[in-house]
């Protein structure tokens, strides 16, 4: 899951303009950054823009990078900013606060209590189900989605996610829980409907 954790890069080489080292850095992080853009914006063109802008930005600001955070955290921070800026531009949102969720609000309680967790893997991941899954992720509010992608898809720790997004660890935990509960609710609605449909078909074939 956390394929990037093992990479080590020489900050000195990067800062002195070692292009081979920078190329290695690009190859190590382009996949997760492209994926983040794809899941945040929902289309390959925007994902590619975010990817290119992230590394162009990194190249420009390499000299200011002090190595207080890891290179990965620094890159993810640039990438998440690029993604959020693009979302704002597309939505024409001027007020940045519109992207701060009400952390004080309570997490909505679960409503669907159907246990679909034992459904066979091939049904849970059929083409149709995958679409429902993607759709559910796309429906997450941006601020929750970003936390969810970094933590659950990229496997980044709560601490590093907080550092990347400039949030407190408590904020990250709250948003992560909320994102997971939101997705659980969406998937539960979807799979319970599928289970009900299958039961109906089975009843009909028995009678």
């Amino acid at each position: 899951m956390n394929e990037t954790a093992a990479h080590e890069f020489s900050i000195d080489a990067l800062r002195s303009g070692d292009r081979a080292e920078f190329a290695r850095l690009v190859d190590a992080y382009s996949a997760p950054i492209y994926r983040l853009g794809l899941k945040m914006l929902g289309n390959p063109q925007d994902a590619e823009d975010i990817l290119q802008n992230t590394f162009l930005n990194a190249l420009t600001h390499l000299a200011d990078f002090e190595g207080r955070s890891s290179v990965a955290t620094w890159l993810y921070r640039i990438a998440s900013n690029e993604a959020l800026m693009l979302i704002r531009r597309k939505k024409n949102v001027v007020n940045l606060d519109d992207f701060q969720p009400e952390d004080a609000e309570e997490t909505p309680l679960p409503e669907v209590f159907v246990d679909w967790s034992a459904m066979p893997e091939d049904e849970l991941l059929s083409g149709e189900s995958k679409k429902a899954l993607d759709l559910a992720v796309q429906k997450l509010p941006e601020s929750l989605r970003m936390v969810f992608l970094l933590r659950d898809i990229e496997g980044i720790s709560i601490r590093d996610t907080a550092e990347i997004l400039n949030l407190t660890e408590t904020n990250v935990k709250t948003r992560l829980l909320r994102a997971r509960m939101f997705l659980r609710e969406q998937l539960s609605a979807y799979y319970s409907e599928r289970l009900a449909r299958e039961e109906k078909t089975n009843d009909r074939s028995l009678s």
Binding site: A23, S30, Y34, E48, Q52, V114, A118, R180, M181, R184
Partner: protein
């Protein structure tokens, strides 16, 4: 549904993420497990939340970026001489 929602369930819900990630101290885990034994709703929420997290993990075959995206990126960064690393 909400009148079936006990305070204990709400408390469990608040720690659900951390419980799943194995970040809770042992005594709290025990408390949660005790509640789970007697509460089927919370068991369903736990099982389906865990499964939800499993399902969104990216399969390995989807982990690379498309080759043309990589090529354009290297060109944009003037790194095209590193497109094919020698190994």
């Amino acid at each position: 549904m909400t009148d079936h929602y006990h305070d204990n369930c709400q408390a469990l819900l608040g720690s659900l993420s951390e419980y799943i990630d194995g970040e809770l101290p042992a005594d709290l885990c025990q408390e949660i497990e005790k509640h789970l034994e007697g509460c089927s709703n919370c068991r369903v929420v736990l099982n389906t939340t865990k499964r939800t997290i499993d399902l969104v993990q990216i399969p390995e075959e989807e982990e690379a970026i498309p080759e043309d995206v990589r090529e354009r990126l290297f060109l944009r960064l003037n790194l095209d001489d590193y497109l094919h690393p020698e190994k």
